[in-house]
Subunit: 167 residues, 2 copies
């Protein structure tokens, strides 16, 4: 069988419901990575001029909350540049509280996304054109990518990160 033939038949790899579980599993792990940071280091520790983990987390929050709502409605707000400095909480507890709010938004919104929406081509956040399933995968991949970086920050501080395989 050729790849092209498989493509045209749209055989299921993962369902929409399973994808929600996959995403929230990752978010649960990221939450534990946030918790593993000492309060001050969460907002200040950096290697090679990279952002502190809190700023990466704010990016994840600002992508995931509005992102899942736009996947449901098809209405994307134009985002020139994510500006986390205005809205970022100044404490770990505040950041976790925001994180948990987004977790609930995702759980509440996901079942309202009609499955065919994921196969539609849209311009996410007014500038990133792609099929919606790819846009969502990008949200998750971006989170895994930055959390992996947070693991290096933690190791560099002598702190053991949470087990990667525990979700």
């Amino acid at each position: 069988m050729k790849t092209q033939e498989v493509a045209s038949s749209q055989e299921l790899f993962i369902s929409t419901a399973a994808m929600l579980g996959h995403w929230q599993g990752h978010r649960s792990l990221t939450r534990r990575a946030i918790e593993a940071f000492p309060e001050d280091k969460l907002f200040s520790f950096s290697i090679g001029g990279m952002r502190p983990f809190a700023q990466m987390v704010m990016e994840m929050i600002e992508i995931a909350g509005p992102g899942v709502e736009s996947l449901a409605t098809g209405k994307w707000e134009k985002v020139e540049e994510f500006d986390h400095t205005k809205s970022m909480p100044s404490t770990k507890a505040g950041l976790l509280e925001l994180w948990d709010k987004v977790t609930k938004i995702i759980d509440d919104t996901w079942p309202t996304i009609s499955p065919e929406r994921f196969q539609q081509l849209e311009v996410a956040f007014g500038q990133y054109e792609g099929l919606n399933y790819n846009t969502l995968l990008y949200f998750v991949d971006n989170e895994i990518h930055h959390r992996g970086q947070a693991y290096v920050y933690l190791r560099a501080m002598g702190i053991e990160p949470p087990f990667f395989w525990e979700r």
Copy 2:
């Protein structure tokens, strides 16, 4: 609509063919991350006692090649512990050559995997029980996770990593 109802209906999030493209897109980016490393640093640079990137890449190679073949056949070899030291090439060119071999194995093997295989429960590598689509997602997530760490290594060395969004 409740999540449970969505689950039972197995609505498509991503197809098997699109998932191949998604995986190979990530592997293409990881290849460029390998290329970005100075030869010696690829095998030696470390932060916080973590493995040099070459060892992480060998793990990806040893998971992806045998992994995709086992997804096709259902036959998993028991792996106690991935031992990269025996089989790891000593040069960047050698590592990239192995990487490209696996790229071809994946492209050749993927179309032979019957789609329903991804929904089956198996014990990957003789010890990790899960639905096959989750096992494959784990391969990809593990690659993103470690490549994210390689980005910190590169930044710490003053080297600009490849753009994350280019696949």
